[in-house]
Every structure is written in structure tokens, then in C-alpha cells.
């Protein structure tokens, strides 16, 4: 499960969903794997305004990943500065910046393969196996 997914996940228990402490879910005993994927600059740019940046930073910290910039990148940060300023016109082939590469690596290539996701509100643990998180609840929590 890619880390980007955590940006759209909370606890499946109804009473938790409206509690701020249920977001983001906290990875525990996580085994990470890098699954390489093609960097898609427009996709990254479009997803940028949807990111809960502070929460992503805190998840990355909990997983012991290299620190992310404290302030959320803006679209311009994703483009590498052109080597030759005269090539900026046209702009057909825009190169991703290091920021874009780092973001791609963290959000789309870093995957939780095994472990748990824990709700900060009720403490319920959701298992992640073979890269798939399971949110089915036991009967008494439905």
C-alpha cells in the first residue's frame, strides 16, 4: 500500500471518523518496500493541493523516513530549473525537480507491505498483508 493512500484513509469505525485523532492512521511494525513506478509530473502536481502535508510529514517521521520539507511544496517546486533559460518557452519537456523526485519516492513508491495501521482514537489495529490493508471490522465494532 503506497503512502499516498494514507492521505485518504481513516478508521472504519463510525464514531471515530469525525474525531480529528483518527487521522492519519499510524503505521506500526511496518515493513516497507520500494516499488518503483513511473514519475508522472502532471499527476504529482494535481495531487499536491489534496495532500494533508503535516500529516504526511508525521507519518514519514513515524516510519523513520528522511524528513520532508516543513512547508508543503507548491507546483513550481516540482520543476527543475532549466539549464538554458532560452528553453523555457514552449515547455514541452519539463524536467522533475529533486523535490518532485523525493515526493514521488515517498508517496507513490514507498509501500507498506506488512504491518498494522492503528487508529489514534480507538486504538483499533488494521492489518496490512502482502501490501493490502484490511478494514473489515469485527461484529461488535460495526
Amino acid at each position: 500500500m503506497k503512502l499516498l493512500t494514507l492521505n485518504f484513509l481513516t478508521c472504519a469505525v463510525k464514531t471515530c471518523k469525525t474525531q480529528p485523532s483518527s487521522f492519519p492512521l499510524h503505521p506500526r511494525d511496518a515493513e516497507l518496500e520500494i516499488i518503483e513506478a513511473e514519475l508522472n509530473l502532471p499527476f504529482l502536481r494535481n495531487i499536491l493541493p489534496r495532500l494533508m502535508w503535516e500529516d504526511i510529514c508525521s507519518v514519514a517521521r513515524e516510519l523513520g523516513l528522511p524528513a520532508l520539507p516543513a512547508i508543503a511544496p507548491i507546483p513550481a517546486d516540482l520543476l527543475a530549473a532549466p539549464l538554458d533559460p532560452s528553453t523555457t518557452t514552449g515547455g514541452a519537456e519539463q524536467e522533475p525537480s529533486q523535490t518532485a523526485r523525493d515526493l514521488h519516492r515517498v508517496l507513490l513508491e514507498t509501500c507498506i507491505q506488512e504491518g498494522k495501521l492503528v487508529c489514534g482514537c480507538c486504538g483499533h489495529e488494521y492489518a496490512v498483508k502482502e501490501g493490502v490493508a484490511n478494514f473489515l471490522l469485527p461484529g461488535h465494532l460495526v
Binding site: F8, L9, A12, P42, F43, R50, G131, V132
Partner: protein
């Protein structure tokens, strides 16, 4: 949970969930062609939109548009194992009545051939509501639309299909799925009068095959729109396509 709700959940566990778990791989091999209206809906989403595919099955709709990000979920672990191959999207196992998403998250959602598997009227309305709950709310000023959902359900009115159901028939039915046993090749006999488009595995049983029965509620004309309204949604477009009723709807601005 109320008694009827618990009964509904138990019933679906036996007559829907466990069946899909058993037939997952065979079922998936017959589900690869996207339905045109679903394809159109997914392709018209703006680049970078974030969506949910609630009840994504084998994930066939995750392959349609790679410029959006879709979180697909399904009750069946075995179907999700098949669905997880679709980059850049994400898949997880979840119940459609207990979705693990913050309210108001998604720009769009699809629920294709899912809600007809819930066994009581209240649970079907709750399932529609669960889809609306995860969609972006419209702004109170009305300047920004709410997220949009496309919902598909099987129709009662399908007298030209090989099942032949129609208006006035029973709406709650058990539909067989035949898991074929591997058998030695026999010369294929042409059978007169049998339609050639019988989907592999769905009906006829021969020796050694195993038949599973899945529960369906067949929707009659207008019923989907009514469920949507009761769930707090507004229909913007709806219709009938190939034995199914469909509707595009948004959560109400309340």
C-alpha cells in the same frame, strides 16, 4: 445494529461475500470489458481528481484513467488480490457500509453492480448514503459543486436478456454461478436455440461443476432514484443500459 440489520449482514455474508471469495478468480476472468457509461464517467474526470471505487471487484475500472487517483475497495480479499496490480491506484479490503475514508474526501465515486447485493431496503439506502458521505460536499454558497457518484444496479426489467425477468416478477432472487470443473476436451456440439453469448460459468452445470447462488435485489424503474433521494442525494442524470439502471448523483447541499 438492529435485529433486521444483523440478519441482513449475516445473510449477505453467506449469500454474497463468501460466494465472491470462492469464485473470485473465475469471476474475474469474465469481467474485463468496461461498460461504456462508466468509462465515459471516469474519463471525463479532471486530471488529478481523487475518487473511490466502492466494490471494485477485480479492479477492471481502475485501468480506465491513469490521470486520476482512485482508492478501490472490496469486501472480497481474493478479488482485491487481483485488483491491486493497477497503478497508480490503490486497493484495500473494506465493507461498503464501514468505509475507512474521512467524510467529504473524494471528487468522484463509482459503485458498479454492488448495491443490489444488499438484502434489505434500509441497508441499500445506507449503502448509497455511505457513497455520498465520502464525496466532497458542495460549498454552501453553491459556487462549487459537490462530488459526483455513478451508481449501477441490476434491473428487474430485462425481458430480452437470457434470464428474462420483467416488470411484476419477484425482485429478490438467487442467481447461480457455475464454477466449471476442468474436464477432458469433448467435441463441441452445436445446440440449436441456445444463445451463443452465454457468459462462461454463469449458468449450465454439468457433472463435477459446483454451483454457487448469489443474492440480488433487482431494481425496478425509478427505484434507484428513490433510494438516492432517501439517502440525501440529488440525481443529475440517469438511465437504463443493458439490463441495468444507472444514475449520476451528488450529495445534497444541507
Amino acid at each position: 445494529m438492529s435485529d433486521s440489520n444483523t440478519q441482513g449482514a449475516d445473510y449477505e455474508a453467506q449469500h454474497v461475500h463468501s460466494v465472491y471469495e470462492e469464485i473470485a478468480s473465475h469471476f474475474s476472468s469474465t469481467r474485463y470489458k468496461p461498460w461504456p457509461i462508466v468509462e465515459r464517467f471516469l474519463k471525463e474526470q479532471p486530471d488529478g481528481a481523487v475518487g473511490a471505487d466502492v466494490g471494485c471487484g477485480n479492479g477492471k475500472y481502475l485501468a480506465v484513467n491513469k490521470k486520476v487517483f482512485i482508492v478501490g475497495s472490496d469486501r472480497s480479499t481474493n478479488l482485491i488480490k487481483i485488483a491491486k496490480q493497477h497503478a497508480p491506484h490503490s486497493t484495500l479490503v473494506a465493507d461498503n457500509l464501514s468505509l475507512p475514508h474521512p467524510p467529504g474526501t473524494f471528487d468522484f465515486a463509482i459503485s458498479i453492480a454492488v448495491i443490489h447485493h444488499l438484502s434489505t431496503p434500509a441497508r441499500r439506502i445506507e449503502a448509497v448514503k455511505a457513497v455520498f458521505d465520502i464525496l466532497r460536499r458542495p460549498s454552501s454558497s453553491g459556487s462549487k459543486d459537490g462530488g459526483k457518484a455513478l451508481i449501477y444496479v441490476w434491473a428487474l426489467e430485462q425481458k430480452d436478456s437470457r434470464r428474462g425477468w420483467d416488470e411484476g416478477h419477484k425482485q429478490d432472487v438467487m442467481v447461480p454461478w457455475v464454477l466449471k470443473q476442468k474436464k477432458e476436451k469433448k467435441p463441441r456440439k452445436k445446440q440449436g436455440g441456445v444463445s451463443s453469448d452465454v457468459e462462461a460459468g454463469e449458468d449450465e452445470e454439468s457433472k463435477g461443476d459446483k454451483t454457487f447462488l448469489r443474492y440480488y435485489h433487482l431494481y425496478k424503474k425509478g427505484e434507484l432514484e428513490q433510494d438516492i433521494q432517501e439517502a440525501g442525494g440529488v440525481v443529475s442524470e440517469s438511465g437504463y443500459e443493458k439490463d441495468n439502471w444507472w444514475a449520476i448523483a451528488s450529495p445534497c447541499n444541507i
